[in-house]
């Protein structure tokens, strides 16, 4: 009875932790399809560019950050010092700060161990899927399980595709040409469009996309951060101009 009381304001949208977990696992599937070729390519490249099999797997298991793993392999092949590779990793992954601060209102009240686990699994993909679930206005209280389901599924598939690349990568046709990576683009498009309901949001995305193109030559994925900040600033400024016309 107490439970009924607790969820009465959530308009009957309570979903069990298991239901949320599997929904999260399902919702991230299109993004996993898009990431599989990269896991395979990473496994193939890592072992042919000087990393051991254990090293390649350990990198996917403990670092779990696709872009920086690719950059690291390139730097290893070029004979770069390990500390410079670590520094580069730090810079490449700076964009996760933006994801974390955006997720903060939803994970702030979670116990520390939940925050630790969700932080370890934070990726572009899990952020996109989790924030979409958190922002649904159904008041369901177990959404962090959705976040976890998406994260763990992403992690498992990244490990598996790395393993595939290490073991049979050399015998497969070049995964970069499969076109599966386009699944990420269409999924993100399907997630972006519903946001663009107001003028400031339209301006924000327009500016972000344009700046992303202009800043594309910047190294270490810094263009992404520059574009995002420009987009946010454009949105906030246009809100002020549009709501307080002079």
């Amino acid at each position: 009875m107490i439970q009924l009381q607790d969820y009465s304001h959530s308009r009957g949208q309570f979903r069990s932790p298991q239901a949320e977990f599997w929904a999260g696992a399902r919702d991230i599937l299109p993004l996993i399809i898009g990431a599989i070729p990269f896991g395979i390519i990473f496994g193939t490249l890592a072992t042919s560019n000087g990393l051991s099999i254990g090293g390649a797997l350990a990198m996917s298991a403990f670092v779990f950050a696709g872009s920086s793993q690719f950059i690291a392999v390139g730097l290893v092949a070029a004979g770069t010092g390990w500390w410079l590779i670590v520094l580069t990793t730090f810079i490449v992954n700076l964009r996760h700060l933006l994801y974390a601060v955006s997720l903060l209102p939803y994970v702030q009240s979670l116990p520390r161990r939940w925050q630790t686990v969700l932080a370890f699994f934070l990726t572009d993909e899990s952020f996109a899927v989790a924030i979409r679930r958190y922002e649904q206005a159904d008041g369901a209280p177990m959404k962090h399980w959705h976040h976890l389901g998406a994260s763990v599924t992403m992690y498992g598939s990244w490990l598996l595709s790395t393993l595939l690349g290490i073991t049979i990568g050399q015998t497969l046709p070049n995964a970069a040409n499969w076109g599966l990576d386009f699944a990420m683009s269409v999924t993100f498009i399907g997630m972006i469009v519903p946001y663009v309901k107001t003028q400031p949001m339209a301006i924000a995305t327009l500016i972000s996309g344009s700046v992303a193109l202009l800043a594309y030559p910047l190294p270490h994925k810094l263009g992404l951060i520059v574009a995002a900040i420009a987009g946010i600033a454009a949105g906030v400024l246009s809100e002020r101009t549009l709501t307080h016309p002079r």
């Binding site: 990393l51 051991s52 090293g55 350990a58 990198m59 670092v63 950050a65 920086s68 690291a72 770069t80 390990w82 590779i85 670590v86 990793t89 992954n93 700060l97 974390a100 601060v101 955006s102 903060l104 209102p105 994970v107 702030q108 925050q115 932080a119 370890f120 934070l122 572009d124 952020f127 996109a128 924030i131 979409r132 922002e135 076109g179 386009f182 699944a183 990420m184 683009s185 269409v186 999924t187 993100f188 399907g190 972006i192 469009v193 519903p194 949001m201 924000a204 995305t205 972000s208 996309g209 344009s210 992303a212 193109l213 594309y216 263009g223 992404l224 574009a227 987009g231 946010i232 949105g235």
Partner: protein, 109 residues
């Protein structure tokens, strides 16, 4: 030979530090309503900043033409998303248009 263990440990620590920093400090600050409002822009602008170069940047730089199957697929996806608001339909039809257009380009060239 690079010290592999050192490198991977360092990379893991660097990555986790960034991912955890904000969550870890979460009990030390609260976001004002104005900040929370500002943060609502993060998902759409970040995803846009990822997708736009992904779609428009080919091997030889900016490619805005009908020869770019990704662009054609992306335009289809935008139209489907705007008219149906159905994510699964957007993904499947967007992919179908992309693969179909690629096939057509293959036949034509």
């Amino acid at each position: 030979m690079i010290p592999e263990g050192l490198m991977i440990t360092g990379m893991a620590i660097a990555t986790f530090t960034i991912r955890y920093a904000i969550f870890g400090a979460s009990n030390r600050f609260t976001l004002s309503p104005a900040w929370r409002h500002t943060l609502r822009y993060v998902p759409p602008v970040v995803l846009t900043a990822i997708v736009v170069p992904e779609v428009l940047m080919g091997d030889g730089g900016l490619d805005v033409s009908v020869m770019n199957a990704r662009l054609v697929g992306a335009i289809a996806a935008v139209i489907i998303a705007a008219t149906t608001r159905n994510l699964l339909l957007t993904i499947s039809l967007g992919m179908a248009v992309f693969f179909g257009w690629n096939e057509c380009l293959g036949l034509w060239t």
